[in-house]
Subunit: 381 residues, 2 copies
Amino acid sequence: MAYFDNAATTFPKPDCVYQYMDEFYRKNGANVGRGRYGLVQSTEIMVKDTRTRVADLLHCPAKQVVFEPTATIALNIIIQGIIESGAVNIYISPFEHNAVTRVLHHYDESGKIKMYQLSVSTELQYDFQRIRYQFDSIRPDLVIVSHGSNVCGLVSPVEEIFALAKRYGAVTLADMAQTAGLVDCNVGLESFDFAVFAGHKTMYGPTGISGFVMNSDIKMPTVIFGGTGYDSANQDMPESLPERYEMGTLNIAGIAGLNAALRWIEERSVDWLWEREQENRERLLEILQGFDFVKIVGNYEGCKYVGIVSCLIEGISSDSAGGIFSQGGVAVRAGLQCAPLAHRFLGTYPVGTVRFSVSNFTCEDDFGILKNVLENIRDNL
Amino acid sequence: MAYFDNAATTFPKPDCVYQYMDEFYRKNGANVGRGRYGLVQSTEIMVKDTRTRVADLLHCPAKQVVFEPTATIALNIIIQGIIESGAVNIYISPFEHNAVTRVLHHYDESGKIKMYQLSVSTELQYDFQRIRYQFDSIRPDLVIVSHGSNVCGLVSPVEEIFALAKRYGAVTLADMAQTAGLVDCNVGLESFDFAVFAGHKTMYGPTGISGFVMNSDIKMPTVIFGGTGYDSANQDMPESLPERYEMGTLNIAGIAGLNAALRWIEERSVDWLWEREQENRERLLEILQGFDFVKIVGNYEGCKYVGIVSCLIEGISSDSAGGIFSQGGVAVRAGLQCAPLAHRFLGTYPVGTVRFSVSNFTCEDDFGILKNVLENIRDNL
């Protein structure tokens, strides 16, 4: 199996991730914040160390790292919380995932918010002049940007967008599910209020551990309630961070895996991983572009991309093409990839695309298998 | 370390849990429902198999198993969903955890619901005559019962309570965080609408995987929104189960661990595990009762208990006592155990108790260490 579905979850993980997750959880399986004995302490030290490593990775030591089981839950906590705080005018990039748009749609339906799309050219350039005009006309309360599109891989200029949004007093939220650990980004900048990460994607950790970093000054109501192993008599969620948003039992095994993954990234550096990903993306593009029935979607000069490439296969629906690749031993993701808005913008709605995504572990064998399947498709056209 | 904090999370897990989690995740790390290739299929088969095993364990093959990262999130999805559906009069047992009461408190504060406590005698007997009177006076919309108290271990007669609640047309919810896999309970009965399980407690699975079973006929709005790898064009959450409530990436490593844990339980049987837990509880009580400064809380004849025993140490605050046990190498949980309501009912609020909880793996060595620490406390009184 040549695995080109790393945007869904990176696979395989570095060996140290599997190893440490198993080793740590076997030895230290206790529940954090819920006792004072040795096992709890060793687990708490590991969790705290993981928080520090996440903050270091994103250059935001002064911000609060909050763990959640999934990026989806992290996005719900933030978006619902900020809307419950009174945000009405919400701007999003054209590339948002359903984890963002379905939350917004719920509030949009009830008339509680108004949604606007940031102005981006057909060649995927953010049009700052028009965005300024948009913000002048209707002041943004919340600006959400998918840092790396899970459909076409576009890296959005989130620093510039947020710097502008801050001049209008908006709260800012970067969805870094496809970029944390891969694209070097200074989340420590004051213009970043929230940044969501997915532990099991570009961070090479296991499933079940994700989260967000936040500007600790922001006051936001909670939308999920529960025990925090702390301040138990209080029937309101505690004010203290991260407990306020970290209800229930933390995924200890998952955090251990993420800890090992972060150490693995540190040993290599984000820049090195980025370079390697670019090489793999170039190789992927080279192969795909060698077949004239493959039409690459949303790939323009002057744009920056993570290792995600979407394409159409001429004469074959994306869904059928997905099946053909799969039968040929190439793991891809066909369809709308949970991001219908992005496909509307790219002109591939409702058929969707066939998406290929690489990781640090994509190798020449994988590319060879992909090339074979493409040659077979060509020969059978 | 003698581990008596199994109510927080069972530790250790059966060896097969660690082993299968590692082995499966190394080989099959793909994201369920998000592609059609081989790795996804093998993962889907394992996830489906785990659903079947959960349903079998709880005797409810006709009900829907929904995975969530934590029991807290499961409880939020259900309680918030049922309240958003219009439930106003909500009855709870006196033993509910903050994962229930903090959710209710949020709606109670805004005047959206009214909360009532089911009538239970000081000797922990549910008073069905008075409960009938309560239901006659104010009709229940939702009845929530903690099946096993995480403070004193009391097993509530949830079948009888729900049978009565159903005569008044209430929706019923059992919090089985301390009982699933340990107390044989027929969740297949029509009177059970929802039952929540915590994979990492009495089910011996890893952290990061829990969920609920539900009566599929119930229509309930969603409170967390996101991608489901399915019906992506739809900006509403899909109607189909379990996708409607299973947004975001499933914890594959965690589900694999739970799968192994369920097979381990099946090989032994719930009844066998219950017997073994009762033996360990008896041994624990015998030791604690050998010291007259130990006052056991909420332990009455004619009641049924899981292996959780709470006590007060005369002359020492629960918090300090927790520290002494910890220093002596005995892992316990001191304080309110995230269940202040239960402590109010038991008369141990706000000081809380020292809680000891056993598992299938608690052994004579553990009891020996506990006995030593108690002797040291006695000698220093």
